[in-house]
Amino acid sequence: MEQFFLQLTNGLTIGSIYALIALGYTMVYGVLKLINFAHGDLFTTGAYLGFTVLASLALTDHLGQLAGIITLAVMVMIMVGMIGIVLERAAYKPLRQSPRLSAVVSALGASIFIQNAIMLIYGATFFFYPQDILPKFTIGIFGIEIPIMRCIVFMVSIALMTSLYIFIQKTTMGAAIRAAAIDQDAARLMGINVDRVISVVFFVGPALGGAAGLMVGMYYGHINFTMGWVYGLKAFTAAILGGIGNIPGAMLGGLLLGVIESLGAAYISFAWKDALAFCVLILILIFRPTGLLGERVAEKI
């Protein structure tokens, strides 16, 4: 039983990162009906920018640990968000009226561009976050020892997701985003600046992805330019699982995928972990083609 709960917490930690990245996919899809394949690489960008800022500004020395890390996270989120906006202007906006396939190809191109740009700027070797900035002790919950960082990763992800949910549901901008997701032309007729909505989506999604990249970098300690691939793929799966275009769906899908992965690995077969996760995805899509919480039929990308 202790094993079960331990594996559950492992799965929730991994899943919360997937969920955070999945939000970027799902938000962009919701508004533009486009899979932003470069999102995994924006996640990598977040990890690298965090590393650079941490190494060059020594924030934790000047501001103390907690304040330093929070400042770092905010800076990284803003920077990655800006890159997201630039990406949209450069790679997607010129293609908004073209067939959908062109935009997908452009997204794949942007992904290769960012990945290789990171490799050329930083080099192909591993980079290492400083080891001493994070607490290392474990906390006991119901007699189970859980490393504190796992709880923090989980809680930060949940907090970011909750604030996103509130932003989408309670603010005027959130309402505009929802309106643009339903019907862009009608939204425009209602006086909504759809271009601005898209910019906001391309700021918020990558910002969350960048935050996930920073967390992965800080927690797992090392980063390289290919790290976005696995996470991007898993998060994309999570977004589909929960119903792409649906924000609570991405959160649920991410957490579920993490838990399926770790429990499947622990109780069925470790080597078949990914195969099991994808089997579950296929099963869910057979019975609910729109994903768990999806309403619209996912058209082909």
Partner: protein
């Protein structure tokens, strides 16, 4: 008339091509210049370029300059097959590389069809030399040898309940199988045998499972990035059971990934590190390398690549020809106890290197690897 002009132009191009080729002796290097093993590949390139430069400044080889042609295999079988095709059409005599066994396997038959001599430097999977290929050699030892040493070490340390973890790559699976066979014949219990997925960041699931099996020792046969993460997350779980690794964990980045405290006490089976090599050739080379690049060579595989290059150029010099058959014949039968950077080199009929170059290492000092006899 038009035909005549065309054929003249064509023959000119052909002649100039042949002419350009005869100025240089081209030797290929297929190595991971990008991807997760990029730091290994970059060092292999540095070693080969340094060795080639040395030959070229002291009169060249058969009176010609040696040119290294580098192709990136990205540590990926598909990319390696493309790299091998490009290299085999670029007029090389032989190719040095590569690091991972599954990567080498993808390129082997492409070189073999062209009769190009391939000297692998890090590919230790047994079956690579069991295919009867006439032009394939390797300067690194095989997994069955490493498996034997690993099993011996595990026994010597008195462990009786062993967990074995690999990553499904040709190399890691082979080493895991070999070790487990040796252990089973010696009646040592294997309580866990499975694979993880390389390239991920979180291995807490498998660590939690392993911890539940209560092994005396965990033997991980994969590569250093995963080994480092396993150690790092093992420490987080406050789990004290020792870990051991195969020779692919022999890389200083392991300590950086794991963190110094988490890496302490980790043992691995490997050929010695460059700075621990006792041979005169090695010491001269290491100091040359340091003065050329301002740092010590980190990876033994880079030096094994260097040895591949050195035996190849040695064979060209001795046979005084670029005939690939003559060269591989020389390497198979006439090369005896060549003084390599990593010790004496002799090849058997299969192209395997004869002799025992494994030693048992342990991370005792937190900042560097230290040799343990």
């Amino acid at each position: 008339m038009k035909k005549l002009v065309m054929s003249l132009i064509l023959s000119l191009i052909l002649v100039s091509g042949v002419h350009a080729a005869s100025d240089f002796i081209k030797i290929g290097l297929m190595a991971p210049m990008t991807g997760s093993w990029a730091s290994e590949g970059l060092e292999m390139k540095q070693v080969l370029e340094l060795l080639a430069q040395k030959i070229n400044t002291s009169g060249g080889l058969l009176g010609k300059n040696v040119e290294i042609i580098v192709e990136d295999d990205a540590g990926d079988p598909r990319t390696a097959a493309l790299a091998a095709q490009r290299l085999s059409t670029s007029g090389i005599v032989g190719v040095v590389g590569t690091y991972g066994s599954s990567i080498t396997e993808a390129s082997q038959s492409i070189y073999d069809e062209e009769g190009i001599i391939q000297i692998a430097n890090g590919s230790t999977a047994v079956r690579l030399t069991e295919k009867g290929m006439k032009h394939f050699f390797r300067t690194c030892p095989r997994d069955d040898e490493q498996g034997r040493v690993a099993a011996q070490t595990i026994q010597k340390l008195g462990y009786t309940n062993v967990a074995i973890l690999h990553d499904n790559t040709t190399y890691a699976k082979g080493l895991a199988d070999e070790t487990s066979n040796h252990l089973k014949t010696n009646k040592i219990n294997i309580c866990f045998f499975d694979a993880l997925t390389p390239g991920e960041r979180d291995y807490s699931t498998i660590l939690t499972m392993l911890k539940g099996k209560k092994p005396d020792v965990v033997f991980f046969t994969g590569y250093y990035p995963e080994a480092g993460l396993l150690l790092r997350q093992k420490r987080e779980l406050h789990w004290k059971t020792p870990f051991m690794g195969g020779d692919a964990t022999n890389h200083p980045d392991l300590i950086k990934i794991a963190g110094r405290d988490a890496a302490e006490g980790f043992r691995f089976i490997s050929a010695p590190l460059p700075q621990d090599l006792p041979f005169r050739q090695a010491r001269t080379f290491v100091s040359d390398f340091k003065s050329a690049y301002g740092k010590m060579p980190n990876s033994i595989y880079a030096l094994l690549a260097g040895d591949g290059f050195r035996v190849l150029t040695h064979a060209i010099e001795k046979t005084k020809s670029l005939d690939k058959k003559a060269i591989s014949n020389y390497l198979h039968h006439q090369l005896k106890s060549f003084r390599g950077l990593t010790g004496r080199i002799t090849f058997n009929d299969k192209g395997d290197r004869i002799g025992d170059i494994y030693s048992n290492y342990m991370v005792v000092v937190k900042t560097s690897f230290e040799l343990q006899q």
